[in-house]
Symmetry: C2
Subunit: 236 residues, 2 copies
């Protein structure tokens, strides 16, 4: 058995208009310790497709995303995932997924046997509640994404994404100085926000000239997180 001592996190949105963001609780070590083995996945390689598999995939290191491919070749990125995330919670209750997962940087991924998970769910209410809560938080995040894509402009969507990444990175002890180096490029951001790469670039320029963010090399510095969050929310 591989030991994984990190925290289990999943995707979640920045503070909803109706309350503070809820951060997923860390998995107890006897859960993380039940990872059967870890695999290393190259950047830009699929971690899994939509087929059935007897494991839950826990992202241990690196950045990943979940996405869906359209028949015409377009791609919609559904969520970015940071270390600690369970990528395929849906597997607990359904065979097949309606999305795939991709490694954005080189990733190590822990394989948690579904059988173990299901047994734990039957016998240990705390673990059951944990996984169910993670599923619910994923729901909240997806709902926020629907709002983001449906009712916000390019600039606002980008502000939302950057605020969200900052908050989640800080929750796992990174980007504590308000700056971070995302393992994603502008095309990937565009595919997540439903925009073209060119227009995403122009939106970044705009946030830069507005003094909300600064970019040095590959590093994004959030200059005014509060105002950025306000832009994301379409508030004053």
């Amino acid at each position: 058995m591989m030991r994984f001592t990190g925290r289990i996190m999943t995707t979640f949105g920045i503070s909803a208009s109706n309350g503070p963001a809820q951060h997923p609780p860390p998995l107890p070590s006897d859960v993380t310790g039940s990872v059967e083995r870890s695999i290393v996945v190259d950047a830009q390689s699929d971690i899994f497709g939509s087929s059935a598999r007897p494991y839950l995939h826990v992202l241990q290191t690196g950045w990943a995303c979940t996405y869906q491919l359209l028949p015409n070749g377009q791609r919609q990125i559904v969520a970015f995932h940071l270390p600690g995330a369970v990528l395929d919670l849906d597997r607990i209750m359904t065979e097949r997924l309606n999305f795939s997962a991709l490694a954005l940087s080189e990733c190590t991924v822990g394989l948690l046997p579904l059988e173990w998970v299901r047994t734990a769910i039957d016998t240990r209410p705390a673990i059951r509640d944990l996984f169910w809560t993670l599923t619910t938080l994923e729901n909240r995040a997806l709902l926020e994404s629907v709002v983001n894509l449906g009712r916000r402009t390019a600039r606002e969507r980008l502000a939302y994404l950057l605020s969200d990444l900052l908050e989640r990175l800080q929750a796992i002890g990174e980007a504590l100085d308000g700056s971070f180096t995302p393992a994603i490029n502008q095309s990937e951001m565009a595919d997540a926000l439903g925009l073209s790469q060119v227009h995403l670039n122009r939106s970044i320029q705009r946030l830069k000239t507005e003094g909300l963010v600064a970019i040095r090399g590959r590093r994004y510095e959030i200059c005014d997180a509060k105002r950025l969050r306000q832009v994301a929310k379409k508030a004053g």
Copy 2:
């Protein structure tokens, strides 16, 4: 105790690119029978806001939607709900919701005590699995909505919505002849699809002239469901 003998359904998307749509299983009658009481909600009235409440809300008759309001007054409708749907599954594991629910027509809503639900989850694995599965299916549907809003044109989004409604209505034994009278107007469709009402109207005209749908009065007739689904998927 109020008896509710209908099926429990939840929101779900039309067939994912990776497999057929999965329809939620009906709730056993001892669950539906545990509805403490039913309330009647007028059309265009809120069923609930985002605050905590000791009940799960089961839609028994009528159409409803879940939505989020932005600070600037814009509205994003997240999902339309048909009779049988549980509107606030998130309450099982979290206190506050990040959305509200609105009655689109006059609705009767069953109040299922959260305490009863939590006890049932602890003691009856089949019921636990049912509610968890419903949560997972909601996840799938939200993911499809993200794809819909992020990567499809107005015409395609509308085709998706109409296909989805048709399929879900048929699953509860309605619209079996391929036509139905939705309890929603064009503004509400627009708010769900991230479009303006005017442009939504023009998209409907387009589907009409293409011979995919016909409208007589308030009744929508789906003339070519297969082709409509292809439009929604951006395929051939």
